[in-house]
């Protein structure tokens, strides 16, 4: 039987790689990919805890559905902002986005 700890270690590895991606990338779209990985790691943890808590409830699944909805909303708004950034300063490098003037 696969234990809860194995799932948590997989989730922790996905989280750390997503964090590494967010910290090292300069391209805004690549940073968005790292954030998606981090949200997926949280989802794995929610479902694994729900599976192994010994109760016949599915509240963890509901939380995961909400996380997926929030991830979709976040991706849509972030890409709208990135496209606007590209239109204004001509690149999607987050180091170039330093001015507050529109």
């Amino acid at each position: 039987m696969i234990s809860l700890e194995s799932y948590m270690i997989v989730s922790s590895a996905v989280f750390c790689l997503g964090l590494y991606n967010v910290m090292t990338r300069r391209n805004a779209v690549a940073i968005l990919m790292g954030i998606e990985l981090i949200l997926n790691a949280a989802n794995i943890n929610f479902i694994a805890f729900n599976r192994f808590n010994g109760l016949p409830i599915l509240d963890g699944h509901i939380m995961s559905v909400f996380v997926i909805v929030l991830a979709a909303a976040e991706a849509a708004v972030a890409l709208a902002i990135i496209i606007n950034l590209y239109r204004n300063i001509g690149s999607v490098d987050v180091d170039d986005a330093r001015t507050l003037k529109g």
């Binding site: 696969i2 234990s3 809860l4 700890e5 194995s6 799932y7 948590m8 270690i9 997989v10 922790s12 590895a13 989280f15 750390c16 790689l17 997503g18 964090l19 590494y20 910290m23 090292t24 300069r26 391209n27 805004a28 690549a30 990919m33 790292g34 998606e36 990985l37 997926n40 989802n43 794995i44 479902i47 729900n50 599976r51 192994f52 808590n53 010994g54 109760l55 016949p56 599915l58 509240d59 699944h61 509901i62 995961s64 559905v65 909400f66 997926i68 909805v69 929030l70 991830a71 979709a72 909303a73 991706a75 849509a76 708004v77 890409l79 709208a80 990135i82 496209i83 606007n84 999607v92």
Partner: protein, 162 residues
């Protein structure tokens, strides 16, 4: 049998995530992200979350990933031959992440977790639908309003200014 499948899926998830982090080409990163999300859906099936695996494939692979690839295509100049991306601070970030992973592994392996193998729910979509419309009705309504706001907001932000 299921252990072997779990280890195969987990190592492939790890490799795909490493590919997302290390690939120099942004489109390759997006393809690696596709594999990672798809394999995580496989992990959900191993956890008996069939509804969530379907939602993961539909929303992440079918929606968010297409959106991300659109973002890659729309925000790169066509004069440049390859859509390269630069990375920085790699050593510091790698050390920090390995340190964090070590702490997390230590906490996971020494924690006192409830680890009961309860027989899985027969029909998770039935139970999820029941819970959404009874116990979690208020968050459900709030999130539908949020989705409406995101729909209008994203269209407004991305519109061409004149």
């Amino acid at each position: 049998m299921s252990e072997i499948v779990f280890y195969i899926i987990s190592s492939l998830i790890f490799l795909s995530c490493v590919g997302v982090c290390t690939s120099r080409n942004l489109v390759h990163s997006a393809v690696c992200l596709f594999f990672a999300l798809f394999l995580i859906a496989g992990l959900y099936i191993m956890l008996y979350a069939d509804f969530l695996a379907a939602v993961q494939v539909i929303v992440y692979v079918g929606g968010i990933l297409v959106l991300i690839i659109f973002g890659v295509m729309l925000t790169n100049r066509l004069e440049k031959p390859s859509i390269d991306i630069s990375s920085f601070n790699q050593l510091t970030a790698a050390l920090l992440c390995i340190f964090l992973f070590g702490i997390q592994c230590y906490a996971i392996l020494n924690g006192n977790w409830v680890n009961v193998d309860y027989p899985p729910t027969e029909n998770t979509s039935l139970e999820i639908g029941r819970l959404i419309l009874s116990k979690h009705l208020l968050p459900f309504e709030i999130i539908s309003i949020l989705l409406l706001g995101v729909l209008i907001g994203a269209a407004t932000i991305a519109r061409k200014k004149r």
